[in-house]
């Protein structure tokens, strides 16, 4: 064929589908072989199948405060975490956390000595690393236990007797991980796909690179996309009766010049009633379902549509043109750049389940 056609064939959509085509269409495969199948989206055929759940169980309040060490819980709750996804860890043993702590301490110390240029980053010395298991922060038997990493250090101008201060903390977790996926993993792999960090970027980088070297895994930033944020709006609103939202605050950014930010704060009671009205229609449809059993993505969309509709009725301005950037309630806050804060322990499991799912999706396999 003449050259111009090549550029048509180069369109990425083909590369994604070629493999699924019947073999009789062999010319396609020949194109594929000469162009390389790399999709511009980085989607591999196997991944096209994986989507966020379209329906999920309504958040039950889990009283994890009884199960989880209160000190750990307090740490998890008070901090805003920067999220990443982690591919499965090779030969990771929950029994060897002590030795990992030592190794990581040594690694950080060594790196510190090497990179004098970054000394400004941390005015501390004498790093002490602790890896520990957060008992009870799992949902199913397939979930690996959550691991907490804490780094303490002496402030640079500290007195002798001053206690070490926590300079960095992070965790790796898996809550309600997809069973099929977890079962399909080879024997020596542990799946803790969701990672949260809090502390200096430099230390985050060090910890990540140690994990990468030691367990042959990879890290990547986990953004919370539009749909996940909408899920959080619904999931959190659904909790209002048991634990007050105080307010439901959503921030949109509209792509105009200069950029316009719209913050929409809804009275919690009104948000709850809107949510109920959106749910009510559904419960009439299929009554056999247990009450408050599961939430469908359609209901989430209806809630958002209701909120946007009310906004549009007043301002004649379509929020759909922009993107949801942030959701804040008394139960927690989430930003699209992958920062999350969970303020209420009772709904931590629900939120982490959603995020685990997102992490598994984002993970290149």
């Amino acid at each position: 064929m003449e050259p111009p056609h090549n550029s048509v064939v180069r369109t990425p959509l083909n590369s994604v589908i070629v493999q699924r085509r019947s073999k009789s269409k062999s010319y396609r495969q020949s194109y594929r072989s000469c162009l390389g199948a790399a999709s511009r989206l980085g989607l591999t055929p196997a991944l096209t199948a994986r989507r966020l759940n379209t329906s999920r169980r309504a958040p039950k309040s889990h009283n994890i405060s009884e199960k989880v060490n209160p000190e750990h819980l307090a740490l998890l709750l008070k901090t805003e975490w920067k999220l990443s996804y982690v591919s499965p860890l090779y030969k990771f043993r929950h029994t060897q956390l002590k030795s990992y702590s030592r190794q990581l301490s040594a690694f950080i110390a060594a790196e510190k000595q090497q990179g004098l240029a970054v000394e400004v980053e941390g005015l501390q010395s004498g790093f002490r690393v602790t890896l520990s298991v957060v008992q009870g922060l799992t949902e199913t038997d397939d979930d690996a236990e959550t691991v907490l990493i804490q780094i303490h250090a002496n402030p640079l101008f500290a007195r002798q007797d001053e206690p070490q201060r926590s300079v960095w903390s992070g965790w790796l977790t898996c809550i309600n991980g997809n069973t099929d996926y977890l079962h399909s993993l080879p024997k020596d792999f542990t799946c803790l796909p969701l990672c949260g960090c809090s502390g200096s970027e430099y230390l985050s980088g060090l910890v990540k690179s140690w994990f990468q070297q030691t367990f042959d895994c990879c890290f990547g930033p986990l953004e919370i996309n539009h749909t996940s944020l909408q899920w959080l709006v619904a999931l959190w609103t659904n909790c209002h009766m048991e634990s007050s939202l105080q307010h439901l605050k959503m921030s949109w950014t509209l792509p105009v010049v200069p950029p316009l930010q719209v913050t929409y704060t809804v009275n919690p009671q009104d948000a709850w009633e809107l949510w109920c009205s959106v749910r009510a229609g559904r419960q009439e449809e299929d009554e056999e379902e247990e009450e408050g059993g599961s939430i469908d993505i359609k209901e989430v969309m209806r809630l958002m549509q209701g909120l946007k509709g009310h906004f549009f009725r007043h301002f004649r301005l379509d929020l759909s043109a922009g993107s949801l950037r942030q959701v804040t309630t008394a139960l927690g806050s989430a930003k699209c750049n992958g920062r999350i804060k969970i303020s209420n322990s009772r709904y931590m499991i629900t939120t982490l389940t959603l995020l685990t799912e997102c992490a598994l999706l984002k993970m290149p396999i």
Partner: protein
Amino acid sequence: MSSLKPFSKLPGLNTANILLVESEEQFQQSLADALVEETSVTVNVRLAKSLPLPLENEESRPRIDLVVFIINLTSELSFQSADASLKYLDPGYFLGKVCFLVTNARNASVPTERLDTVRKLAASLHCPLLFAEDQTPDGVTNATERLLTILKVAAGLVPLATALYLSNLTQCTVPLDIDQPSFD
């Protein structure tokens, strides 16, 4: 309801006419500027925010050989607008004279579901789905090249190739398992 028809007018000599539909009216301008640079054929570009096109331009409008819907994935509105415009096209256009051009597909805040919806739409209409980078000059050149290739075929300027034939090769198809949730 006036719909745009593919064969209601005579073609011009060595001329190809393309209609770019984009609700945000941002990428279309740079794309148009690049498209008219083409020297081997005369390319006329018509720009629209949405369909239907205004009646008063009916006379002056040449035969449109290719309709391109530009969809910015970061904006829900962009898709909705394109979707609403489709019904103003004559069915004849869907025989290889329509294509979708998606921008911002790699943006982190874009939910994968949105791309799926566009994919399904393109597949159901047997149209090709292109991806483009709208921020860099390279991206614009790339997108222009691809559109020109399709345009030339659609306008009947490539011997032995027809729009229908090309679209049969390039139309978007949806993976079989797109609707199967992988969890639960």
